[in-house]
Structure formats: C-alpha cells, structure tokens
Symmetry: C2
Subunit: 738 residues, 2 copies
C-alpha cells in the first residue's frame, strides 16, 4: 500500500499513518456549504483568467471589460503587452454599425480571416448577432478594430455551428436543420415530421458523439445526422410547473427494445444539393466518429453493429454518398468503443491517426488512406487521452496521456516519422493544453496538482524546450483562511487480489486521538469516470470537504471498471455491471473499518447515477457493512436504461437474462436493513424516474423502508442554486442516521 498526502490549504502538513493533528491557528473557521458547492452564494472557485491564442505569437487574456494581449518573442518571453480591445471600444464599434451592445468580453474568440491569410479577427457574440472585428495583420501590432462582418442569430435557432472559413452557420429549429449562409441566405435543409431529428447529437451522446453538424474543412459542405425516433417508445416525464401537469415525452430506447435509426446527409451550400450516405439499412447500427477528408471529397466514419463488438472505418463519397472504402475493422468479444474520429495529418492529406484500444490501451496508429498501417505511434501500459493538435514545425502530434500516472494527464509530443516522444511541461499534476493557432509551435499549459489550484503557462512544443515556461498566472488557494480537512491518497488491492486501486481519504482537520469517526464512501464506480486524480486536492469534491470538516472521514476508491486504467481493468464488469465493482468497494470499506480512527459500525455510502446504483447495491448486498446510504438518480434495473450505454456492458435482456436478473436491485429490495435515501429528479431523461419509483414499489412489496426525495424540474442531477439544497439534504440524512 502506497500513500501520499497533501493539504488543500497552502500549509503543507505531514501525513501521519494513523491520525493527523494540524497545528493550525484556532482562529480559522470551517468552510460552509455555500462556499464549497457550485451554486452556493459564496462559492469559492479557483480563480484565474481565461486565455486564448491569436496565432502563434500572440496570446489574449480575456476579462469582462478588456482583452489584454501579449506578444511572445523567440525566447518564450513576453516582448510586448497591450490592450487589444476594451468593452467600451467594442460597444462603440457595435453601436456605429447598429448592432447590440455586449456585457462582457469573457467569451470573445479569435479566428483568422480566410480572405486575408493570417489576419486575426475577433469573434464576438452580442447575444443577438455574431460579429467579426478586425485585428492585426500577422506580425503587426494590434490596431484599432473595425467591424468586418456580422450576422444576426436566426430566430428560434439552437445547436448553432458556425464555420470560420465560410462563415456559414448551421442551426436547428425544433427538429429540423437550417443553414444561414455568410451572405445571409437562409436555407431549410430538412422538413421532417416530429419524431425525426436532424442536425442534433444522436445515439444518446455515446461513442464520443456530442453534436449533429460537421462542416467540411472549407465550410462549404455540411455533414449532418438525421435520426428517426418514431419507432422508439416514449417515456413520459411530467412538468409540474405548468398550470396543469404537462407531458414532456422523451424518446427513450430501452435495452433490448427497438432503437432509433440514423442516417448521415451532406449538404453542399454552393450547389444546394443534398446527398445521403449509402450506408444501407440503418436498423441496429451506429454511425460515429465523422471526419472530413482534408479535400472535402469524402467523409469517414466508424460503423458499429448493435452488439458493439465490431467496428468498421468507412469512407463515403461526399459527391454522391457512395461507399468508397472499408479501411479498418476491429472486433472484440466484449465490445469496441470508438470515441474519437480519425485525425488527418496537416502536412500529408494521405495520412491520418486512428485511436484504438485494440492492444488493451488507447493508443495512436498512423494509417494511410488506403487503410495501410504505417506505424503504431504509441504503446505501453498507459493510454492516450486526447489529441491536442499538431506541431507542424517538428511534424509531431501533441497529446495528453496517462504515461506518468493513471491519475494524471501529461502533455507529450510524438514525432510521426519515428514515434519519438517528448514531454511538454511538468511530470507533476494533471494538464490541459491548447495549441497555438498558427503552426502549433507553442501551447497554453493549464496545470493543477494536489497543492496547486491552477497554473497557466506558455510552453514551446519543440523537443527539449517543454520544460521552459512563461507563467501567465498562478491561482491562489481558494480556501485560504479556512480550516480545511486533510487529504491522503494511496492504493489498495482490488477484490481480485492483484489489481491496485487508487483511493482518496479526506479526514477532519483536527482529529482527537482515540476518537472514532463515522466514515462515508463517495462512489461512482462506472465506466468513463475517475474520481481520484492528481489534480487540485486530488479531485476532492466540495461536499467531501464539508463532511470532513463536520467530523466525518470521507473515502473514495476508483474500482475496477472505472476509466484510465485500460481495457482489462474496465471489462471485468462485462455482463454484470455493479457486481465486481461492489466487491472492490467492499475491500475499501473493510480497509476503512480497519483504520484506528474510523468507527466501523458507522460506514455510509453516497453516489449519483452509476454511483446511485452502487450505493443502493452496496446497501442491499452488504447490509451489515453499510449503515446509511444516499443514492441519487440510481440505475435500478438495466432493462430501464438506454440501448447504447446499457447494451455495451450488459448485452440485451434477451441474450443476458441472468446478468440482468443479478443486477436488478428490485430483486434485492427485501434485503434493505440500513437507512437508504433515494433521490431522483422528475425530469431525469438519462436515468428515468421509473428506476427509483419501481424500486420504491419493490420495497413496499417487500415491506422494507427506504426514504425518497424528488427534485422537480431537474434532470440527471441537481445543478445551479439548488445544488446547495441537495447537499444540505444529503448532509442532514447522514447526520440523522449515521
């Protein structure tokens, strides 16, 4: 067992094995829920400006009233600082053109003028219009702005996607798709009845899908999704804020049931022609990872069967929708999960990078457009998390990976010709990168580490230069002046006796020797998530800090099945989600009980969504281990969950009846011994209220006594101002019963 320790406050405190006594001044007070929970009136965010690249040499710092600029010299030093634009100046410019004023410049973007290569433009959104304001020519100082172009937001538009080259705008109105051209011509692309959705995300945002429109590189062709949901059963949600309860029906395909059908269309703005990709019968097929060829002549996508165990990379003609090529196939007995489109190499339009987990870890493969593997670019027991972009000078791809630690993202460059790899920035902590807008020779490195809330610096992407940095800002500790809990991390063995699992332990700041403290496990446990990181304070949640400051020991363990640990780690849960995960959490709970300062008779558990499932499952499967649980938006029966996510891990109720039965928590309702509060949102369209309500019915049938709360009008969690209410509710439940 390894252990690390840190304190959120600036003072470093040594971690003691058993208990920790801080030497802090007695005058420090404990944080309040309002200070710790997003939505709270005094919420203490990690402070810091927002930066954006303007080419390779200029970086803008966005503030509400001003865009500050800095120009870097070749030595990575700030050669010049200037004011690019003030809000007053912007509003004067807008007023002169009869446009609406802005309230803030915080979201201003930088783009390049395609007609005037290299000239930088500011993209401003007034709320009513999208406006381009002229900036400096390349290499010149920032000059006075002028409104170069503007366009009103179309009435009733949603899902806007604007292309900076063509300046055309794709958007939806209700369920149909429209384009507003740069010249102001409005074109309705689809005219579908209700139940057919165009230009929006499909497949319930699985397979890496987050949107429904995809402009070609020149912005003159628009690829888009069309999803026919008319054959999908509806789930009735009720809006109780209407004068009389009103129905909000959502199309929700449940595991094993008829799913929606997706097509991909391509609209050519210049010709006005629309073609459909000739994919054949779309029944029970998924189309994802759309990627345009650099020349805009073809569109690549990954096709997946309903079983999700066979993926094919296909290339379609943009001109007529014909299938041109099947470039790559991947099969796996469990499932394949392509989440990232292929990525073309900027300097060679015949080469692209494919991401695949086929060797057990997500790695990069360089292919040519004939489907021939040129080179596996990365390998090893770690994963590539994200392609940030390309450095065109060193001909390398910039990525973030878990190579240093599975708890971290660190930035690397990989040279395509030989796979040579070098780190950019520190090995410590976790990093996000934004590449400079020209050749990608620099990047903004946004770092955090257990004792570092946030530091933003500029680094060169060149080999040997990644250690040099030009620090733009270092955030101060948001909890300065408060008495904060102590955080420790370490590893425990999973229930398989072999695998290391990472935990985070949050302890009250002042623990009395000999005293036993109640403990609460915060759990998620499902795929696609990791709770213990080497980010600020190890990724601790505000509520965990709050509870620790009230005298609870908070514990979180990323069990097998969670993310960033590779395919084998994830797949042990296949076809019986929640079972192995619970066994790992029990290992954590047993370790917690073994701690001299933990009261082993007072172990609680809390989680949301998959974590709500875990919480409920732990309470039912290990009724003597857990005294109190709070399960938010839980999955109770995977039959009620949707097709894409659910069937990936569980197959269908028809093909895996035993697995579905084993994981249906209604069947365990009679085993409830402790106190279990279930919380559900009445507009939860991710995990529909049927889960919780059917479990309540099962408990009534079994004469067991869970508690229940419902947050009206909220979706799959409670966000915004009400999040404080939620956590007060959760807190008081533990305080009353644990």
């Amino acid at each position: 067992m390894r252990r690390y320790a840190c304190r959120g406050a600036a003072l470093a405190v040594a971690a003691l094995m058993g208990w920790t006594m801080t030497t802090m001044a007695q005058t420090e007070r404990k944080p309040t829920l309002e200070e710790l929970i997003p939505g709270g009136t005094d919420y203490r965010r990690v402070a810091g400006s927002s930066y954006v690249w303007a080419g390779d040499d200029i970086c803008l710092e966005r503030e509400a009233g001003c865009l500050k600029g800095m120009r870097l010299n070749g030595h990575m030093k700030v050669a010049e600082q200037f004011t690019a634009l003030t809000l007053d100046e912007a509003n004067l410019l807008l007023k002169q053109q009869g446009l609406s004023p802005m309230k803030s410049l915080l979201r201003a973007e930088v783009t390049a003028d395609p007609a005037d290569e290299g000239r930088l433009l500011l993209l401003l959104d007034t709320g009513r219009e999208r406006v381009l304001v002229g900036g400096p020519q390349k290499g010149e100082p920032w000059t006075e702005g002028e409104v170069v172009w503007s366009q009103p937001h179309p009435q009733g538009a949603a899902h806007e996607e604007w292309n900076e080259r063509s300046r055309h705008l794709a958007y939806t109105r209700d369920n149909n798709l429209w384009v507003l051209t740069a010249e102001g011509r409005e074109v309705q692309l689809t005219d579908e009845p209700a139940g057919v959705v165009c230009g929006q995300s499909v497949h319930r945002n699985e397979f890496g899908i987050s949107k429904g429109t995809f402009w070609s590189p020149d912005g003159e062709q628009l690829a888009y999704y069309r999803m026919d949901e008319r054959m999908v059963t509806t789930y009735p949600l009720v809006d109780i804020t209407a004068r009389t309860g009103e129905l909000d029906e959502v199309r929700y395909p449940m595991a094993g049931m008829t799913s929606h059908q997706v097509m991909v269309g391509i609209y050519d703005v210049r010709s006005g022609r629309n073609v459909w990709l000739q994919t054949g019968d779309p029944t029970d097929r998924y189309f994802t990872n759309l990627a345009w060829a650099p020349d805009g002549e073809s569109l690549y996508l990954m096709e997946l069967n309903r079983d999700q165990n066979h993926a094919v990379l296909c290339r379609y003609s943009a001109a007529d929708g014909r299938l041109m090529q099947r470039l790559y196939e991947e099969q796996r007995p469990t499932y394949v999960e392509p989440q990232q489109p292929i990525c073309f190499v900027p300097w060679d339009k015949e080469q692209f990078i494919l991401q695949s987990e086929r060797d057990g870890w997500n790695h990069l493969y360089l292919y040519d457009t004939q489907g021939r593997l040129i080179r596996q670019l990365t390998s090893g027991p770690w994963m590539v998390q994200q392609i940030v972009g390309f450095d065109q000078r060193t001909r390398s791809v910039i990525v973030t990976t878990t190579e240093v630690s599975p708890l971290q993202s660190n930035i690397s460059a990989i040279r395509l010709k030989d796979g040579r790899r070098w780190r950019i920035g520190s090995d410590e902590g976790t990093h996000r990168a934004r590449l400079s807008g020209g050749k990608g020779i620099r990047l903004l490195d946004e770092a955090s580490a257990p004792e570092l809330p946030r530091r933003v610096s500029i680094r060169s992407t060149a080999p040997g230069e990644g250690g040099k940095e030009c620090v733009l800002m270092t955030a101060s500790d948001p909890y300065e002046g408060l008495e904060m809990p102590v955080i420790e991390t370490g590893t425990l063995k999973a229930a398989d006796g072999v695998t290391d699992l990472h935990y985070r332990l949050v302890k009250p700041a002042r623990m009395e020797q000999g005293k036993k403290y109640p403990a609460i496990i915060y759990v998620y446990g499902g795929p696609h998530a990791q709770l213990v990181t080497n980010g600020f304070m190890h990724g601790v949640r505000g509520w965990d800090l709050y509870m620790a400051s009230k005298g609870y020991v908070l514990f979180t363990l990323d069990n097998r099945g969670s993310s960033n640990r590779g395919k084998v780690f994830e797949e042990c849960t296949f076809r019986h989600l929640g079972v192995e995960e619970c066994k790992d959490q029990v290992k954590g709970a047993e370790w917690l009980k073994s701690l001299p300062y933990v009261d082993g008779d007072r172990i609680g558990v809390h989680g949301w969504s998959f974590g709500g499932h875990m919480t409920t499952a732990l309470m039912l499967r290990y009724p003597d281990l857990f005294k109190v649980g709070v399960a938010g938006g839980p999955v109770i029966d995977w039959r009620y969950y949707e097709v894409m996510y659910g069937e990936r891990y569980m197959d269908t109720p028809q093909t895996n009846p035993d697995g579905y039965r084993e994981c249906d928590l209604k069947n365990l309702a009679g085993q409830l011994k402790g106190r279990l509060l279930l919380i559900h949102d009445d507009h939860d369209d991710t995990c529909v209220p049927q889960h919780t309500l059917s479990f309540i019915k099962a408990c009534v049938d079994a004469r067991t006594y869970p508690d229940l709360f419902i947050y009206p009008t909220h979706k799959h969690n409670v966000a915004g101002r009400d999040r404080v209410h939620l956590h007060e509710k959760i807190t008081s439940y533990f305080e009353e019963h644990l």
Copy 2:
C-alpha cells in the same frame, strides 16, 4: 367543557380528569399494526354476519356456505328457523343448468318476481352469470330452489346496473353504453369517440352522483349520463410498472378552467328509441339528483349553475326530452349543494319528498308534483342524514337523523300527513337501517356505540314499537385480550369563542403520573366528513390506537367546516378553505398543551387529502406550535383541484384571487420550521401529484427541507396490504422526529 370516556375493551374504566390509570392485568400485550390496520395480516375486524330481507317476514343470514332463514311472527319473534339454500345445493342447481359454480353465498341478494307478485327470488352472481333461483311463494315455507332465469355477464362489461323488474342489464364497454335485455338481446346505445363517456358517473362524483345509469321503475327505460370531456385538459399520470413508463392520462378540469359538458339521455328498450333531455347549452352547468316519476313518464333532476349558488328542480318528458316544469328553485349567496334526488311517496304518485338545507339544516319537505309545498316534515337544529324508505302501513318515511346528537345517526319515522315523528331503536350510539322488502313494516337496525362494536336487531317501524327488538347478533370486542388505550371525548370552544367542537382523545393504557407524553393530532377538517362519533370506540382509527399503545396521546377535533353540524358551521370556511379550520385546530392544540400529561413541545399532526392540506398548513402557519407533520395526498394549491368541489368552496381563481393566494401553501413554503413528511400516490387522480411536487419545488426554492415519500400505483390513499407499510412509515417518522 363536557367530557365522556370509554374504553374499547369490555372493561369499563372511569375517566379521570387529568390522567387515567388502568387496572388491567400486566399479561395483556399491546396490539400490533398488523392487527389494527385494514390490510394487515392479522387485522381484527368487528365480526358479524350479513343479513338481508326477503319480504317483510323473512330475514336471511348470509354465510359463505349457507343462507339461513328466519321467519318472524307478529310479535317480532322468530317463529321458524330454516336453511334457505346451501352452497352445495346452489352449485348443484347451477351445474344442472350448465352454469358456473360459486365460491360463496355471502353476496346473494333477494328480489321479488315481478311476474309472480310476491314470490321471492335469490339473485346469485357466479362471476360469469347472473342467476335467479326461485324461492318461496309469499307466506309459504322456503321450498327447494330452481333456476328461474340466468344471463351471462357481457364480455368486457363494467358499471353493470341490473333491473330486477325487467331483468335488463345496463353496462359500459370502455367509454360507451350498452344494454343486454332480459331476453339476451345486446344493444349498443352510444358510439362515442374517446373523450366522451357514457353511462358512468359525472361531475367527479360531486352533488351525490355515484353512477351513470338510472332505470325507470318498470325497468323498460334507461336514463343515463353522457359526459363530453374532450375540452378538458388532461393530467398525465405515469404507470411505472409498465415495461417503459406508460402514460395514464386523466381528464381533470381544474378550478377556473374549461369543464366538461354533461347531457342526459333516455333509452326506451321496447321502442329502441333514444331521446336527449332538452336542457339547452350544457356549458358550465351541473345536472344531478336524477329521479324517475313513478309512472316513468317523466324524469326529474336538479340543475345547478357553475357558481353552485342556484339550483332548479326540473321535470323533463321521457317521451321527447321536453322541459315540462321548473318545480323548485333554491339560491344562496355561498352555495347550494343538492345531494339527494327527490323521493316519491309510494302511495301517492303526486307527492314527493325534497331534501334541502335552505333553513340551515338538511330537512325534509313534502311537495306535490305541481311544485307546491304541502308541508315541511322536519325542522330544528339537527339534520336528516338519509331517507331509508317508507313504511306503507303507517304512511311514514323512515330516516336517520342527528336529532339525538350530531355524533350519531338515529332512526326515526315521520308520518307524512302531520309530521309526527317517533324513534325506532335506541337513542344510544349510531345506527344504520335496512327496511323490510315488502311494506317496510320492519327494519334491520345495525347499531354501534362507544362500547358496542356492532349489534344487529330487527325492529318494527310502527309507533311505540321501535323499542322492541329481536336481536340477531352482538359482536364481541375485536380487541379482547389486548391492552388497549383509553378513549375520552368532549367539547372545546372553536376559535370563534362560541361554537362547541367535539374532540376525541386517545391515551396510552398505562400512563405514569408526572410523565409528559408526546401528542399527535389526526386531522381531516374538510367538508363531508366527521371523525369523532358515538360509534364503536368513538370512531377511533386503528393507527391512533397503535400510536397510543406506543406512548403517544392522540387527539382529533372536528373543526368548523366539517359535517353534520349544519350550514352555518360549514360555511365559515367559504372562499378561504383551511384558514378558519386551522384556527380551530390551534385551539385544540393549545388545549392539548395545557394537559398535565402532554409534552407541549412535542405536538405532531397528521392527515390525508384535506387533512394533508391541514397538516401542511398547520406546520407552516403555526411553526412554533407543531414539531412534526405527516401530510398525505395534500391539497397544496386549490388552483390544482377540480372544478366541482373546489369552486363550491373557493369560487374560481379569477373571481377569488385573494382567497386562492391566501390558501396556496406554496406561498408559505419558507415558513417550514419543523419536520414535515409529504406522502403522495403516483396515481392520485383526485388530488394530482402536482400538489405535492410543486410544494417540494417551492421548498427547494425557499431552502426549506420537507421530506417526501411516494406510493407507486396507488390512488388517493394507500389501501390493501400496503396500508400497513404506509402506517409503519408514518409511525417511524413520528418516532424519529417527534
């Protein structure tokens, strides 16, 4: 202040002013919830047979396996006892005719053969068929049975109404109405689209309406309701037991909104002709109290405007639906509430009895068919509760009234020619009566009193003979052998300082001198109900007994606005329901606090429906008085309640905005201080879930913290087996928090 006391157990215990100490054996155990709550596995019902008249002289005792008969002589003595029919005999008869066997004779009915005047027939329902079995000729001994007539239940039939004279059956299939004639001819009377309901109850069962079909005296004409609900908004309820949550939409007209439209049709079986009553535009009008003229030539009904302050008794021609006469009008600034049809005098088809609250109490008025008042038959500060029937020998009407006490129903006869009135049966306790089937010269008197679970006897209806009785059964104490709480009743002054209100106090069996007990008020408080009676154990509820046996003092007070106390008592709540009622309950709570054995800091409150509103309102309006509340199916905002009930007391949100605002508990959500559990059924189509959920939202907005529970699949309360779960839930909430 007056006080009465009783103990549920057979032992009489003197009521002491302050506290009561029983001398019961220590060996008696306390009752369990399962014994006290209907639905509980060991529920202790008041035992007793079920009796039914067979003419004036014969009374049958119904048992599952046997119908026992007794013949009475002129001296009210049982002259003969015999077995009318055994289940085996019945099943043999049925088998011979190829009919389905029966499992029980408990619901056998007695009717008379219209073709053979006076011959008694047994009406048996096999579940598949309705069967008439021949009984004795009048005055003759019961002979061996024979199947005289039978008819299968039509497939899919609901709302069956069978006429014993014609033997025609009216019934509904889905939303339409059908008739199956005695001869087996099936006629579809209506063919309406969804949203138009025929042959079922209308106006949401208000105005005394409980069904939608009304046979003429000879059974050859059928009057029926047709309700067009297509213009009424739907409320979406969700069935979570379906594979995917399914929608159950109910048409629910909310206060001030567009309501349904009702028509009355008459179908003549012989001619096959249908006519509609020519009532004119049905918008915003109520048609109730349908009554056939004895000759079947006309139909009477009461028409009411939407304001419910103007009622008109109308007579329509059955032949052509023409309005023949407006016989009687009643207006009142608050509301008139006709609940009983007129009742024709059997020996004079030109006379009928009208019930009206026009002098402030429900009394009887004898009218002729020209609409002329012949005589007010009853008057005084008490009310007629029910017309039981007519004694044709003494030419009197038999009624139950509150004349002896507003906590009781006692039976009286009133001679029509002069209003002379005499009591039938005891002045003590509360009574139900069933008149003998011939001339109405005897009745079955079913009595209960604080220490009498149930006694059934036969009495003569003649003057001076009502005291004589032939006792058929006396039920034993269902709680024999259990240690039962002590029950006291008495009166307190209402918040107006004048009106006497009746309370019931339930105290633990063994109270320790000097000890303070927590107290819980069980409240309903709305119109149409009374909780404190002189029935068995003063009408105490099983849960009250349970809580008292656990060491709580239970208290119930019938505040102003509740039933049986006359119009003025009821109407003080007009246009601001709940406000005066709460003030009265506060008087009760203050008195409770003054009791030496009550812990005044631990007062709880519980109620359902209107009582749920009261519970919530008391918790919010008097946050320092009440510590814990459990509100079931509460009305929160009268805007969400239905038109008929709601507008009677509240007018509309448009005409009474201040009243609706004052009574909208969402506006008081921020005042919640104590612990309040709201319980709602997810299929509550009386008080829709929007009430509770919108209140939860208001509390979240106001950052107050109620608790919530939902009973899936239940309607406007939790009945059956789950009722025990409900009361365990309620109990533990008080145990945890009070």
